[in-house]
């Protein structure tokens, strides 16, 4: 039994490389972090940042053509390179995954009540009836209306939001140590999103699991995460508590991300976008991958990729992170509307 605050999951120098027709793609280039019991770690990044590949690699869910190296330890047990059999035991039981598309996890030919009950029975020695009753309770816990009638519905009879809640209920049934939620609300309407985040929080509180929340939505991170990792071009470029990231970012990309976000509570102002686009993983620039878009870029940035360093848990990968203290996005990013990159 781990006490709160001790690491449940430790990832060290995770690297993922794909070989494709067009060449080698380094999707993840040395990601390290720790997930402590009871906390929510948010991983935020845009497309191409490698955030989803990271979680899939941790679970051994990538295609055989992917080369994964590094270390992923669950309570000290190494997951990378473990046999598929051993991993299958870990998946679902110790680590539950919630994907963007609920149909990845739901079996279309069985009613949802049955699927939840089976998950319960897989890990607890209870009778079918007891499991069925618990299933109804779990469905209620994730706010499915009329759960006692809904248990007989098939997945295709439910809306996307309901299906996602069933997936969360199944995750809860397994009492996992870690819940990995990979863009769980991206495909859903915003009112449903609020319900799902609520259900996720319930799942986390009731099972005591640690949660890895992967998303591109800064608002979701702000509301749910305790600590945050910002990923760009396959690396973590900033790590810290949620307040540190949002109120005192130390990496220009984070600052740019915050500045380009339109907000409900701001009147119409000029947005401050980051010029250019995230680099293609096939053709990463030398040095810091953000340098081509960074207003602070200097020759040292192209020569040397900055290491992830910092004091007191707030890490950033920038040669000039000190210069960012107290800066607003508007100070660094001019509001442009051109995109002349080629």
């Amino acid at each position: 039994m781990t006490s709160p605050g001790t690491p449940v999951l430790e990832v060290a120098d995770l690297r993922v490389e794909f070989r494709t027709d067009e060449g080698r793609v380094q999707a993840v280039r040395g990601v390290s972090f720790q997930l402590n019991r009871g906390e929510v770690l948010g991983i935020v990044g845009e497309s191409g940042s490698g955030k989803s590949v990271t979680s899939l690699a941790m679970m051994g869910l990538l295609a055989g053509s992917a080369r994964v190296s590094g270390s992923v330890r669950l309570h000290g047990t190494e997951l990378l390179g473990a046999s598929d059999k051993a991993l299958s035991r870990v998946r679902g039981q110790s680590i539950a995954m919630i994907f963007q598309d609920p149909m990845t996890s739901l079996n279309p030919v069985y009613p949802i009540g049955y699927q939840v009950a089976e998950a319960i029975r897989a890990h607890h020695d209870v009778s079918r009836d007891a499991a069925a009753k618990q299933a109804v309770q779990l469905l209620d816990a994730v706010s499915i209306p009329n759960p006692a009638q809904r248990v007989d519905n098939y997945p295709h009879e439910l809306s996307g939001g309901m299906r996602q809640r069933v997936v969360i209920a199944i995750a809860m049934a397994n009492s996992p140590e870690v819940i990995i939620a990979d863009e769980p609300t991206t495909a859903l309407d915003v009112t449903v999103q609020a319900q799902i985040l609520d259900a996720l929080r319930t799942a986390k509180d009731q099972t005591g699991a640690a949660m890895l929340l992967i998303t591109h939505d800064l608002g979701v991170i702000a509301g749910q995460a305790d600590r945050v990792l910002v990923m760009y071009a396959g690396r973590v470029v900033e790590a810290g508590t949620v307040e540190e990231i949002f109120y005192a970012p130390r990496m220009p990309y984070t600052l740019g991300l915050l500045g380009s976000q339109p907000r409900l509570d701001m009147r119409r102002q000029r947005l401050h976008p980051i010029s250019g686009a995230p680099p293609s993983a096939l053709n990463l620039p030398s040095g810091c991958p953000f340098a081509p878009r960074c207003p602070l870029a200097a020759p040292v940035c192209e020569a040397e990729e900055p290491p992830l360093t910092g004091a007191g848990g707030h890490l950033s990968a920038c040669h000039f992170s000190d210069q960012l203290v107290g800066l607003e996005p508007a100070d660094l990013f001019r509001p442009v509307s051109q995109d002349t990159t080629l």
């Binding site: 794909f18 070989r19 494709t20 027709d21 067009e22 295609a63 053509s65 010029s275 250019g276 686009a277 680099p279 293609s280 096939l282 053709n283 990463l284 620039p285 340098a291 081509p292 878009r293 870029a297 002349t340 990159t341 080629l342």
Partner: protein
């Protein structure tokens, strides 16, 4: 500091396809062999010392330096005959496949675009054509319409366009709802423009693959027809006719049978492999991992 945007593809779609095709070894080899054969048939046949009608004094001679493929009972040089036969057979197959592709594409694309009753009617006709027993129908038509080679090509086209129509319709159906089609409508494009400028070009890859398979099928069909006597007739010759004429001589003068037969097999095989290579090269979903 110049902005740098890194693109995945540095070249056009055609170049990408060509690059992927080159990696398919069997297809590349087949392409080379086929081109060599075609060159041999057309250029070589023109340059060769003997022509098809020449009657040499050497009768029923096995392959020698003077007659690489031997001669037949009347003294015709088999090499010249095989080259000529190849010209005709390939000509028929290519013409037939091209006409079938053009007709089938227009038919299928129109049906797929408009949908509804027009689609149903047009595709029922195509389905009807597909149910006909090709060989029998081709034989009857070939017999009645005479044996000139382009007529045979027309008969082949007249039967095989339906395959292409099916493929074209399928692709158009899948593309019809894409936003760039809606965008074309929004800027005022008429139906014809949308079909021919937007939908058909995007269906090219599927259609081309289908067309190469058609050529192979046409070669074999022509061979069968001519073998049965319903295809090309003398004084023209074709590979099928040569095989047919030589069937009695299989034991005594195998070279008369062997060489045309070999050419038929090689042509059909190489076209098939090229078609395979094209299909693999054009498939955008496939990312073959190099181990």
């Amino acid at each position: 500091m110049p902005d740098q945007e890194f693109r995945v593809a540095q070249c056009s779609q055609t170049q990408l396809v060509a690059r992927r095709f080159r990696r398919h070894r069997l297809a590349m080899v087949s392409l080379v062999v086929l081109l060599a054969l075609v060159l041999l048939a057309f250029v070589g046949g023109w340059l060769w010392k003997y022509s098809v009608a020449d009657l040499t004094p050497d009768e029923s001679v096995p392959p020698s330096w003077d007659h690489p493929f031997g001669t037949d009972a009347a003294g015709h040089d088999t090499f010249a005959q095989v080259l000529r036969g190849t010209q005709i057979s390939i000509g028929i197959a290519v013409l037939g496949a091209v006409v079938a592709t053009v007709v089938g594409t227009v038919w299928g694309a129109t049906a797929g675009y408009y949908g509804g009753r027009l689609d149903t009617a047009m595709m029922r006709i195509a389905d009807l054509v597909l149910t006909l027993p090709f060989l029998a129908v081709a034989a009857v038509l070939g017999h009645n319409l005479g044996g000139s080679w382009w007529l045979i090509a027309a008969v082949i086209a007249g039967l095989y366009w339906a395959y292409v129509a099916r493929v074209a319709r399928g692709v158009v159906l899948s593309l019809r709802e894409k936003e760039f089609v809606e965008a074309a409508r929004a800027i005022g494009a008429g139906d014809a423009r949308i079909i021919f400028r937007h939908l058909v070009p995007n269906a090219f890859s599927s259609i081309i693959v289908n067309a190469t398979v058609l050529v192979a099928i046409a070669i074999l069909l022509e061979t069968a027809l001519s073998y049965l006597g319903f295809g090309v007739r003398p004084p023209d010759t074709s590979l099928g006719l040569l095989v047919s004429d030589a069937q009695t001589a299989v034991d005594t003068r195998p070279w008369l049978f062997f060489f045309p037969g070999l050419f038929i097999i090689v042509i059909a095989l190489t076209i098939n492999f090229i078609g395979d290579g094209l299909r693999d090269a054009m498939d955008p979903q496939q990312t073959r991992m190099r181990r």
